[in-house]
């Protein structure tokens, strides 16, 4: 079956079996391997992508369901060769160790910060409660997301501060 999706702003088409999971469409067919597979049980969230801006677990959707929709993967965060503020914040705040959960965390952060740029600790933890991290204990992930929110809310101020 023919599937056309707009991934990170680029329209891509493939001919796939309906049973091909979205995560495999992204990784194997479109060769964007930043989206990870971490479990077999829809539990870990490593496969999280944004479907029309909304976080979904791409291992629990068929590729054909995304036909005609927009997908954002971690590769879509970089803008004009520059790290997205979320990526920069994860780097600055040491919000990752092995990096396996990080794409999912950052995309959930993007969705969160777009509707709530200054989330509390509680609000961040709630938003990422579908994403498991085995390395960090979440503390620096929360800090990174809040730092990103601050940077996104006042870009001129933080650019001046780091100059």
């Amino acid at each position: 079956m023919r599937v056309t999706v707009t991934i990170n702003g680029v329209e891509r088409t493939a001919d796939v079996e309906p049973r091909l999971l979205l995560v495999h469409l992204i990784r194997e067919v479109f060769e964007l391997t930043g989206t990870h597979i971490g479990c077999d049980t829809t539990s870990c969230g490593a496969c999280t992508v944004l479907l029309d801006g909304m976080p979904v677990k791409s291992c629990t959707l068929f590729g054909v369901q995304a036909d005609g929709h927009e997908i954002t993967t971690v590769e879509g965060l970089v803008q004009g060769g520059q790290l997205h503020p979320i990526q920069a914040a994860f780097k600055e705040e040491h919000g990752l160790q092995c990096g396996y959960c990080t794409p999912g965390m950052m995309l959930v952060a993007k969705a969160l910060l777009e509707r709530n740029p200054t989330p509390s600790d509680e609000e961040v933890r709630w938003a990422i409660s579908g994403n498991i991290c085995r390395c960090t204990g979440y503390v620096n992930i929360v800090k990174a997301i809040q730092a990103a929110g601050n940077a996104m809310a006042a870009p001129t101020a933080s650019a001046a501060a780091s100059a």
């Binding site: 079956m1 079996e17 309906p18 049973r19 999971l21 077999d40 049980t41 829809t42 539990s43 969230g45 999280t48 909304m54 976080p55 979904v56 677990k57 291992c59 629990t60 959707l61 068929f62 054909v64 369901q65 959930v108 709630w126 938003a127 409660s129 579908g130 994403n131």
Partner: protein, 288 residues
């Protein structure tokens, strides 16, 4: 693992979907897919035909009309979580919605799909039993309404016929002061319930007019604790009354020992949660 092959269909109207359910071999509705797809990945389910209803317009309505809260088949758990009318007037639903799975699953998973899936560890089944909901089942040929209390038959087995789908969930609008609670014990966020209890009360002049109590994760279906409910009809809302109802609810539970805990532990937690849930529900009814 990967799902077995299937034919994929994407109807554009409810009528077309119902036609497909009547004519296709082994058809299964795909709504949120957050229970169905994991099963298919393990090959515990291998439907020959998937009928994806996600493109059909107007199935995602949630609205209170003529004394009934009507929930369409594409209403996502998240939609219930953020619904103003639910927050204002349907306390058990409001308490349960944020506790379903995790926020990402809640973006796609549907209430109707959860009901139709009928996992005894599913939360919505208990909620709907506690509030006395009913479900509209439609096929190409007919439409019928089945009470929640008649709907859940056995493990993953409901009153739905192969050519039917759930097209609406109907929850009676509250009459008088109502309160509710949904207490869910889970090992970690996003896990299935070890046990959970849905509690709904309608107060009548300071006494409990009517109570709805249903249990998650302690049987082959969600369990309506009818004896516990009966013990509370017209009762003064005292600690003793709650304790007695909780004891009856625990007796109605039929837990099995597994990775989440022993049967004894689960039965005990049912008692704890029903007692706590009743106190909370009555308090929220008084504040209503």
């Amino acid at each position: 693992m990967l799902p077995a092959r299937f034919e994929y269909h994407r109807p554009e109207s409810l009528e077309e979907a119902l036609q497909m359910l009547s004519t296709l071999e082994e058809p299964k509705v795909l709504a949120g897919g957050q229970s169905l797809i994991p099963l298919m990945k393990f090959r515990f389910a291998s439907p020959s035909n998937l009928v994806d209803i996600n493109r059909i317009p107007a199935l995602d309505r949630i609205a209170e009309e003529n004394g009934v809260l009507r929930i369409g088949p594409l209403v996502r758990h998240h939609d219930v979580e953020t619904s103003e009318v639910v927050s204002a007037r349907y306390p058990v639903l409001a308490a349960a919605a944020p506790q379903i799975a995790d926020p990402i699953v809640r973006n796609l998973g549907t209430v109707a799909g959860s009901i139709a899936h009928a996992d005894p560890a599913g939360d919505w089944g208990s909620v709907m039993l506690a509030v006395g909901a009913s479900f509209v089942l439609r096929s190409a040929a007919r439409e019928r309404e089945v009470a929640a209390s008649e709907f859940f038959r056995d493990l993953f087995t409901t009153a739905i016929e192969p050519n039917e789908m759930v097209t609406e969930i109907r929850v009676p609008a509250p009459s008088g002061r109502v309160g509710g609670a949904y207490l869910k014990l889970e090992r970690k966020v996003g896990d299935f319930a070890t046990v959970a209890a849905a509690v709904h009360v309608r107060m009548d002049d300071g006494r409990i007019g009517q109570a709805g109590i249903a249990l998650t994760g302690v049987g082959t279906t969600n369990i309506k604790a009818s004896d516990a409910e009966a013990s509370l009809a017209g009762a003064e809302p005292t600690e003793d009354a709650f304790a007695e109802a909780a004891r009856l609810a625990a007796a109605a539970a039929n837990p099995v020992s597994d990775v989440r805990g022993s049967a004894e532990y689960k039965r005990h937690m049912v008692e704890v949660y029903v007692k706590r849930g009743l106190a909370r529900a009555v308090e929220s009814a008084r504040a209503a």
